[in-house]
Each structure stands twice: as structure tokens, then as C-alpha cells.
């Protein structure tokens, strides 16, 4: 319930034992922990809730059990600020880097695990699998600054990677991790670059080769007291967010809680008018109550001036707040969405149907009344469906091609409704004959006059499957559709059909349909090759027309 109010989703209550037995079968779970695990989904923009430390802190403040922490930047006692020098060469691979130090931290096994876990979660989320940002953490007491972030040819980089026993060159490292189940996913980020990014200390010790691996030399342990955190990035904004999250979450374990040293961490001040908050939410709270609501969301607030402004301190953990509307949302969450009075807007409008959909709705009703059953087939299909199986070459279709289909079923957008209906019949061959199906839906064709280079076209398609081809049935349906559209059979101003050739249809059993002075489609008896390719055994006839000219 608390999670619900706060906007979290309690996904599952489980234990390590349950998870292992579910994934690998009961036997393997023996000896695994029985400790209850709560799986919680957090909103995708709240990186500060990704670790237990932040989540608990957020909920405690929400329930007013503790005050929101105020994160501070401090100078080391001896005044020696660590520096990270970024050289020009990095511009070619990974131009940005930011760093911070967590001083006098005390790790325990749980804290250490959580620290590693948060880095991994950030890597997968905001860091976009290390493509945007990569995090490296080091034992500061094993190295000495200033540090240099530079880029070198792979052959010139040589160090002992984390948890390895000997030194490798950068190229060797890439080969080493090609089969690593985790690291192999990150190799492509720098693999084909002439220079690889690397961080050295003043003695030439390699801290890391981002975004792949840290050096073993600076490895942090449970005994580490001072942690040097570096984030290298292609996106400076994201690098700052990631660094802020990491240090604010774990400064809890520093001697002076919530203090650490870094190069930009700061609280931002925002001002929002209480009036605006009330108006946007639809409540009427006093400015002081609004300030209290916001404070519960870790946004330390107070009323200023004559009460017509609220000043809000935005902590570095809340990079998601970029506009007043984000603050207003937090006020609404603290107020409780379900406590807001529901109102009906007075907006007066006249409704209109989209004419093409209106026509479609009317035609659907009457096609069903004519004895045909409605099908609903996929807009995506394989090249084979719209080309080979209908006896045409894919290059002669105006099909739109998908660049990244996971299977052949999603290679193209359909250029005809026929394949879908034929497949529907194939999947329902056990049903009593005749099968009479129709569909009125969109096909997609390339059209260079459109801004995106393609457009939809609303087609009507019908199919008759029986022991006899039933051309007259399909022809009769065309006559009925034209009757419904008030188009008479006439050469001059009505509709007519004229013998035509089409590879999908049996020679001499196909006609082109003309209406409104243009060709609108075809009808005919399917070619036996088409019937066989769609795994059917009976003769079959069909009709497909574009209904847009009848608008």
C-alpha cells in the first residue's frame, strides 16, 4: 500500500531459493537462502531509488520518520584536492570524464555488495549498457593523483586487468573478454576506434580502460577507506547524474554522513508559486502545507516572501526534476493521488468521426449482413507472403521494409490483405465449408509524396473458399458493395470489370475493377500455385479493392 502511494510497484515477494528453483529446477535450490526478497519496480527516471539505501531513505522521509539529508561537498583536511586531467585525444572516443572521492567510508559485506549492485544497475539503465557512461571505482590509497584521462593506441596500453594474474595489452584484453558472458557486450563500444580511453595516476598506474575493465591494482575491498569514483562518458549530463547518484547514495557510510568531495555536486534552488501547484493539481492547500508535502518528497521547501512563493531545494539525487511540473507531481504524490477531488472539465466540443473510419464501420456491418465473417490479420508479414506466394517479385511491390525484424514474420508491412485471409483459412481448414471471410483494414505502400515516404491505404478484401471456385459469389459481393456505395454498374459513371492478368489468379479468371474513373482493385479465382503455397486444397476466389475513392 505504501509502495502504491509512492508510485512503486511491489512486483513479487520471493526468496533466493524460490528464484533458483523456478529458473533451474528444485534440486539446485538446496542450500540457497530462505530470506524473503521483495522485488520492487521503481519508476524509470528515479535512479535514486535503485539501491536499498536510496529506497529506504526516500520512504523514511515520505513517512516523516527522518529528515531529508542535505548532501555536502567537503575539502580534504590537508587541502589537497584530487584532480583528473582530461587530454584532447579522448575527444575521438569518449570525450567526457568526471570524478569524486568518498572519504573515510566503512564497507561491510552488504554495503559492498549494494555498492557493486548499484553500479551494475546504473550501467544497464541510464548508462545504456556503458555506451553513454561507464563507472570505475578505485581504492584511492593505492594510487596518487593527479590523474590523467587520455586515449592511446591499444598496443601501447598495458596493465593487469581486474581479477587477472598477469599483464595484457589492450588488444589482448579485448580478445580475453570476447567470450566473457558479461563483458563481451561492451567491447563493441571502443573496439573499432584507433585509440582506446585509459586513466593513469601520476605514477603511470592504470586505473581503468573504460568502458571495459578496471585495473587490478586499484581494486576496492571491504577494507577500503577512500574511494575514487570516475565516470567516463559520451554524454556529460548523464555522467554527472550517475556520479551524483553513486556518491550521494553511499556517503551515508562515510564518517561524516552524506559528505564527499566532488567537482560539481550542488543543491539547486527552484521557486514555484503555490497557486500554480494548486491549480495544476486541482486542490487548494495553504502554501505552508504545500511546502511540507514537498519536503516529504526529499525536496526541502519553505514559503518565502509574503507567502506567494515556495522555495525548493533540489538535491543532487533528483536529476529527474527539470521543470516546475516535476515539482508539482511530487506535491500531488505527497498529497495522495486518491485524495484529489475528481472533477469533470467543462470543455465543450462537438465530436466528429474520421470519415474513412465511418465508412469502414458502415461497410463492415453490411458485409457481415451479406454472410461474410470478419477477420483481423497482422499488418506485418514476411516478404514471401506478399511476393513469392502470390507469384510476384518483391522488387515489383511498393512494400515498406523493416530493418530489424527478429523473425521473418516481421520483414515487411503488408501490401495486400489477401495473404492474411488465405492464412486465416489455412488455420481454419477444419471448419465447415464454405468459408466466407472479409477484412477492411490498412495496407502500407511507399509514396514519395509523403513526409515519411509511405502511406496507408484502406482496402476491402473478401474471400470465398469451397469445393467450387465461386467466382459468381465474389462477383455478387462486389455488386453488393457497389450497391451499398450507390455506384451503379455502368461504363460511364459507375463501375465495371474488365479481363486482366495477375500472377495470383488463374489465367482467364481474373478481372480488374474500375470505378470513379480509376482502377480500384481486382477479383478472380486464385491460381492453383497460390492455393498450394498457402497450404489450401480447395478452389478459392477473392476480391480486393481500395475504398478510399468512395469517401
Amino acid at each position: 500500500e505504501l509502495c502504491f502511494q509512492f508510485g512503486l510497484e511491489l512486483d513479487e515477494i520471493t526468496s533466493e531459493k524460490d528464484i533458483i528453483s523456478k529458473e533451474q529446477g528444485g534440486g539446485k535450490a538446496e542450500g540457497a537462502s530462505d530470506i524473503i526478497l521483495y522485488k520492487i519496480d521503481v519508476p524509470a527516471n528515479r535512479y535514486d531509488l535503485l539501491c536499498l539505501e536510496g529506497l529506504v531513505r526516500g520512504l523514511q522521509v515520505f513517512k516523516e520518520r527522518i529528515k531529508a539529508p542535505r548532501y555536502k561537498r567537503i575539502m580534504p583536511a590537508n587541502g589537497g584536492v584530487q584532480r583528473l586531467i582530461i587530454t584532447e585525444e579522448t575527444a575521438q572516443v569518449r570525450p567526457h570524464a568526471v570524478a569524486a572521492v568518498l572519504r573515510n567510508i566503512t564497507f561491510s559485506k552488504d554495503r559492498y555488495d549494494s555498492f557493486i549492485d548499484l553500479q551494475e544497475k546504473l550501467h544497464q539503465n541510464i548508462c545504456r549498457k556503458r555506451a553513454l557512461v561507464a563507472i570505475g571505482t578505485h581504492d584511492l590509497d593505492t594510487i596518487s593523483g593527479p590523474f590523467t584521462y587520455t586515449a592511446r593506441p591499444p598496443s601501447e596500453i598495458r596493465f593487469k586487468p581486474l581479477n587477472q594474474s598477469k599483464e595484457y595489452t589492450a588488444s589482448e584484453i579485448m580478445d580475453l573478454y570476447r567470450t566473457d558472458s558479461q563483458l563481451k557486450h561492451y567491447l563493441h563500444i571502443i573496439e573499432n576506434k584507433p585509440l582506446y580511453p585509459v586513466i593513469y595516476d601520476s605514477n603511470g598506474v592504470v586505473l581503468s580502460m573504460p568502458p571495459i575493465i578496471n585495473g587490478n591494482h586499484t581494486k576496492i575491498t571491504l577494507n577500503t577507506r577512500n574511494v575514487f569514483v570516475e565516470c567516463t562518458a559520451t554524454d556529460i549530463t548523464k555522467a554527472k547524474i550517475v556520479l551524483d547518484i553513486l556518491v550521494t547514495m553511499f556517503s551515508e557510510y562515510c564518517e561524516k554522513q552524506f559528505t564527499h568531495k566532488c567537482n560539481f555536486l550542488c543543491n539547486m534552488l527552484e521557486k514555484v508559486k503555490p497557486d500554480l501547484i494548486n491549480k495544476k493539481i486541482g486542490i487548494s492547500e495553504k502554501p505552508s502545507s504545500l511546502a511540507k508535502l514537498l519536503t516529504r518528497m526529499c525536496l526541502k521547501s519553505h514559503v518565502t516572501g509574503s507567502g506567494n512563493n515556495i522555495e525548493i531545494e533540489i538535491p543532487p539525487t533528483r536529476a529527474d526534476i527539470i521543470h516546475a511540473c516535476d515539482i508539482i507531481e511530487d506535491a500531488a504524490i505527497a498529497y495522495g493521488y486518491n485524495n484529489i477531488q475528481m472533477t469533470i472539465p467543462k470543455t465543450y466540443t462537438i465530436a466528429n468521426q474520421f470519415p474513412l473510419n465511418k465508412l469502414t464501420e458502415l461497410l463492415r456491418q453490411d458485409l457481415a449482413a451479406a454472410g461474410f465473417t470478419e477477420a483481423l490479420t497482422f499488418a506485418l508479414c514476411s516478404q514471401e507472403d506478399i511476393a513469392d506466394k502470390l507469384g510476384v517479385d518483391i522488387s515489383s511491390t511498393k512494400a515498406v521494409h523493416i530493418a530489424n525484424p527478429k523473425t521473418a514474420e516481421f520483414q515487411v508491412a503488408r501490401t495486400s490483405l489477401l495473404p492474411g485471409l488465405l492464412k486465416t483459412i489455412a488455420a481454419n481448414r477444419k471448419m465447415p465449408l464454405p468459408l466466407k471471410l472479409f477484412e477492411i483494414s490498412d495496407i502500407v505502400i511507399k509514396d514519395s509524396t509523403k513526409d515519411v515516404g509511405a502511406r496507408n491505404q484502406r482496402n476491402l478484401c473478401a474471400i470465398y473458399y469451397n469445393k467450387n471456385p465461386g467466382f459468381e459469389v465474389i462477383h455478387g459481393l462486389l455488386d453488393r458493395v457497389m450497391q451499398l456505395l450507390a455506384v451503379p454498374p455502368s461504363k460511364a459513371s459507375g463501375y465495371l470489370i474488365r479481363a486482366a492478368e495477375d500472377s495470383a489468379f488463374f489465367p482467364g479468371r481474373c478481372a480488374e475493377i474500375f470505378a470513379k474513373g480509376q482502377s480500384i482493385g481486382k477479383l478472380g479465382v486464385f491460381h492453383p500455385d497460390v492455393i498450394t503455397k498457402f497450404e489450401l486444397t480447395m478452389p478459392c476466389s477473392a476480391l480486393e479493392i481500395n475504398i478510399e475513392p468512395f469517401l
Binding site: 554524454d235 486518491n338 475528481m342 463492415r364 465473417t373 506485418l380 516481421f410 515519411v452 502511406r455
Partner: protein
């Protein structure tokens, strides 16, 4: 015979008709009522009857033996020889001299015999089987001379519609009967109302699209105008950038979105607007800090299969902003595409239902009130709202309703107020708020029609029988 009551024997086929058969007129219960009874009786077998005529086998053996005896081999040739000899021996009526001249010879052992078997069978023949002892009856039954017969009888009485004149019953009214008026005097066969009728030949509408029609109806009742969503191909610009969705957002990944190879890029954009979009992403503005990253036109040009109909809402709101502002309510129900992993409830394409209201001063309470009215029309009255995150709405709320069947709160939709970073670059006036919500068409349809596998509903693997048998779609009942 058809007096007060009559007995019909061996009439077991009388009621043979099954439920669908019309009952023969004579036997219809209104004419004659019949009651079945059964009784047992003893009868002679053909062999038993022969014994009554000719005497028992053993008596016949005894009679055929002269005083000087008969060689056993000849005795055995007699019709009753084999059976009669052994019985006569056990009755001690005859004796066998194995050492006689010319082989074993049979002699009478007594002067005369009493043929009790014949006498008992005679009693049975006279209908006095009950006077025999049970032991005797069983013995005779064992010898297959007697048998027990079960007789079914029907006791027949006049029925309520009894008549002594035999009339042929009519099956149905005919035009001739109507013309002549003969129907007044005719008897008609009874109908069997237990049977089902013949289904009318007809076409059927698809269940998902029947539900679509109802949702359309609801929006129209609420004064919402339908958006032109007949453009499956969309540029990343309208699908993402216009909605203030950053270019590195995971939804824009190859794993989630279908990108196009051909036509790969969109060519035409409203350039002034595009510049404002670029600025809000990369530098901020309109009171926003923006995302502060290097916004690239190449990324915005990439064509995709739209991942939501909100791309069309963006086009509509942009168009709305290009004229003097008037309040607007829009809706759409159409296909969207996701390059996702498929399972029993997820397909690569599904229908999204979307509602949008744009007006001055709309509040979060207005959004919730509009949702309440909308869901009430769907027959959903208990609603709850959960804070959520959407890149283009703030505040955002997920809509939950209490499901009585599942006895828990289930998510029924997603909603929010469009971010100023989306609306202001379009040129909408500052005070205008736009509230919006969306849900899938498939999910309520599957719940409504009790379908567990989405493939049975959408696509070519549809179960046509399910389409044929589907009821009307009445969402509020």
C-alpha cells in the same frame, strides 16, 4: 381391443424415438397412455416339449430294452441312447453286463418305471409350474428342459385426446390449409421444444472489432473527435522527439522499436518547430532545463513503425497550435507496433486506445474525473490511481480497477498531463493543459470474452468458431 385398457405384448420398440424424433401419432401420449409392467413365467424348451410327447430319454431307453437285453453298442445308436442310458443307470432302472457274450449287454433291472420327469413337465405345460418344488424346477432348468421367460406388458388406456377415428396428423401449417381453412379441423404433430433450432446463415463481426466499435461509441458519446491514425509509418521525430522523449531513451532502441530499411528516413518536417524541439532537448527553455545532450537530426529522421498513437496526437496538437486556440477532445483506436518478445499476451502489433483533452486550466482532478466517466461507461466503477513515470507526461498516473473475478487491483490504463516541454514548442498557449490517457484494446477484449491466448483472437490463427459464436459486445453489462 381399445377398451378401458388393453395389453400389448412384445412392444418394446414402441417408444424407440430419440429426443429429436417426432412421436408416431397413435402412440402420442395424448391419444393413448401406456404403462409398462413385467412378469415371469416358466416354459418348456423344445426338448421339454418332446419329453412331454414321447417320455423322458431314460424312460425311452428302459422301454426299448427287451427281456433278453440289448447289446450296449446298439442301445447307444438309439436317439435317446446316450443321455437316457446314463440317467437310467443312475436311476438303477437298468444294469450292464460287461461279460456277456458278444460284448457288454444292458438288461432291465426293474419290472416297471414311473417317468416322473415327464409328469413334472406335463404340470409345467398345464401352467402349474408353481406347484413344482424349486429343487425340481432348477434340476429341469439345468437339463435345459425348462426355461424362465420374462414378459413385458404394456397397459394401455385412453389418453386425453383419445379418439376412435384414426386421423393422420399434420406436420405443419401449409398455405393450402390457410386458404381452405382446413387447419381448423386438423390435428398437428407436437413439436419437441427440447431440441435446438437451426442457426441462421450469416456473417459475423470480429470480437476485437466489436469491442472497438463500443469504445468508439463511448468516445463519441463523450464528445471526442476521431484522429486520423491511418499512418503506420512514422518518423522518430513525431513518435519520440516531439514528445520530449530523449534520443538515448531505451524505447528508441533496436530491441523495442521496428526501424525501417526502406524508406529509411523522413524528409519533410516543419523546420521552425523542429528547431524548437531541438532546443528544448539540448538546451532547455520554457522553464525547463532540458536534457542537455547533443540532439541529432539524423536520429529524428529515422522512420519507424509507430510505437504508439500518441505520435498522431502530437501531430494533431501541433496542428491545433497553428490556429487560434479552441478547446479540443481527440480520440483514436488503432494499431501500434513493438519489436518485443512475444508471449501468450503480447504480440508485435496491438491496438492502442487513446483519449486527449486540451483546454485552459485543466487539472489532475479533471483527468481523474474524465477517467472515472470513461471507465464507468465500460462498467468499471472502482478506480485507484498510482504515481508512475512516462517520459512525456508529468504528473503521470497508472489507473487501477478492482477486478472482482481476480479479487485484486489490476492496471487498466495509463494517463497523465503532457509535459510543457512537449506542448510549448508546438506553440500552444502557456495556460493550456493537455490531459491524456491510453490503454490497449486487446486486454479488455480478452477479459470480456474469456480468451487466454491472444493468438486465438488476433491474427490468422484466429479460432473462427469463436468468432461465429461470440455474443454482442455490451461493455457495461
Amino acid at each position: 381391443m381399445l377398451g378401458a385398457h388393453a395389453v400389448l405384448l412384445e412392444c418394446s420398440h414402441l417408444w424407440a424415438g430419440e429426443h429429436q424424433a417426432e412421436v408416431s401419432p397413435v402412440c402420442s401420449p395424448q391419444v393413448i397412455e401406456a404403462e409398462q409392467r413385467s412378469s415371469k413365467r416358466w416354459e418348456l424348451t423344445p426338448e421339454g416339449k418332446e419329453i412331454v410327447q414321447e417320455g423322458s430319454h431314460e424312460a425311452r431307453v428302459f422301454d426299448s430294452i427287451p427281456a433278453e437285453g440289448l447289446p450296449q453298442s446298439e442301445l447307444m445308436k438309439l436317439p435317446s441312447g446316450k443321455v437316457g442310458f446314463s440317467k437310467a443307470m443312475s436311476n438303477k432302472w437298468v444294469r450292464l453286463d460287461k461279460n456277456a457274450d458278444g460284448g457288454p449287454r444292458v438288461f432291465r433291472a426293474v419290472e416297471s418305471v414311473q417317468d416322473s420327469v415327464r409328469e413334472k413337465l406335463q404340470l409345467v405345460q398345464q401352467g402349474e409350474a408353481e406347484s413344482l418344488e424349486e429343487k425340481d424346477r432348477n434340476e429341469l432348468k439345468k437339463r435345459k428342459l425348462l426355461m424362465e421367460v420374462i414378459i413385458k406388458t404394456y397397459w394401455i388406456r385412453k389418453g386425453s385426446a383419445f379418439s376412435t377415428t384414426v386421423t393422420k396428423q399434420e406436420t405443419d401449417l401449409t398455405p393450402e390449409m390457410l386458404a381452405s381453412g382446413s387447419w381448423r379441423d386438423l390435428k398437428f404433430k407436437a413439436y419437441n421444444f427440447e431440441a435446438l433450432g437451426i442457426m441462421p446463415e450469416s456473417g459475423h463481426l470480429h470480437p476485437l472489432l466489436k469491442v472497438r466499435t463500443q469504445f468508439r461509441q463511448i468516445f463519441l458519446e463523450m464528445g471526442f473527435t476521431e484522429m486520423p491514425t491511418n499512418n503506420f509509418i512514422e518518423s522518430s521525430f513525431w513518435n519520440f522527439d516531439a514528445l520530449f522523449q530523449p534520443q538515448q531513451h531505451p524505447a528508441r532502441d533496436q530491441h523495442d522499436t521496428f526501424f525501417l530499411q526502406d524508406p529509411a528516413e523522413a524528409t519533410d518536417f516543419p523546420m521552425d518547430y523542429l528547431k524548437r524541439v531541438k532546443k528544448i532537448h539540448s538546451q532547455g527553455g520554457y522553464g525547463s532545463q532540458g536534457y542537455k545532450y547533443d540532439w541529432k537530426l539524423e536520429e529524428a529522421r529515422k522512420n519507424i513503425l509507430r510505437t504508439h498513437t500518441t505520435a498522431v496526437s502530437a501531430r494533431m496538437l501541433y496542428r491545433l497550435a497553428q490556429q487560434k486556440f479552441t478547446p479540443a477532445k481527440y480520440f483514436s483506436i488503432d494499431r501500434v507496433f513493438r519489436n518485443e518478445t512475444l508471449d501468450a499476451t503480447h504480440l508485435a502489433e496491438f491496438h492502442q486506445i487513446e483519449g486527449v483533452v486540451a483546454d485552459y486550466g485543466l487539472t489532475l482532478g479533471d483527468l481523474m474525473g474524465t477517467l472515472r466517466e470513461f471507465f464507468t461507461k465500460l462498467g468499471i466503477s472502482q478506480l485507484r490511481f498510482k504515481p508512475a513515470y512516462n517520459p512525456y507526461t508529468e504528473p503521470s498516473m497508472e489507473v487501477f480497477s478492482y477486478h472482482r473475478g481476480l479479487q485484486k487491483w489490476v492496471e487498466v490504463g495509463n494517463s497523465g498531463i503532457f509535459r510543457p516541454e512537449m506542448l510549448l514548442p508546438m506553440g500552444l498557449p502557456e495556460g493550456v493543459s493537455v490531459i491524456a490517457w491510453g490503454l490497449s484494446l486487446e486486454r479488455p477484449t480478452m477479459i470480456k470474452y474469456g480468451i487466454n491466448n491472444i493468438r486465438e483472437l488476433v491474427g490468422h490463427k484466429v479460432n473462427l468458431q469463436m468468432v461465429y459464436d461470440g455474443p454482442l459486445c455490451r461493455l457495461d453489462s
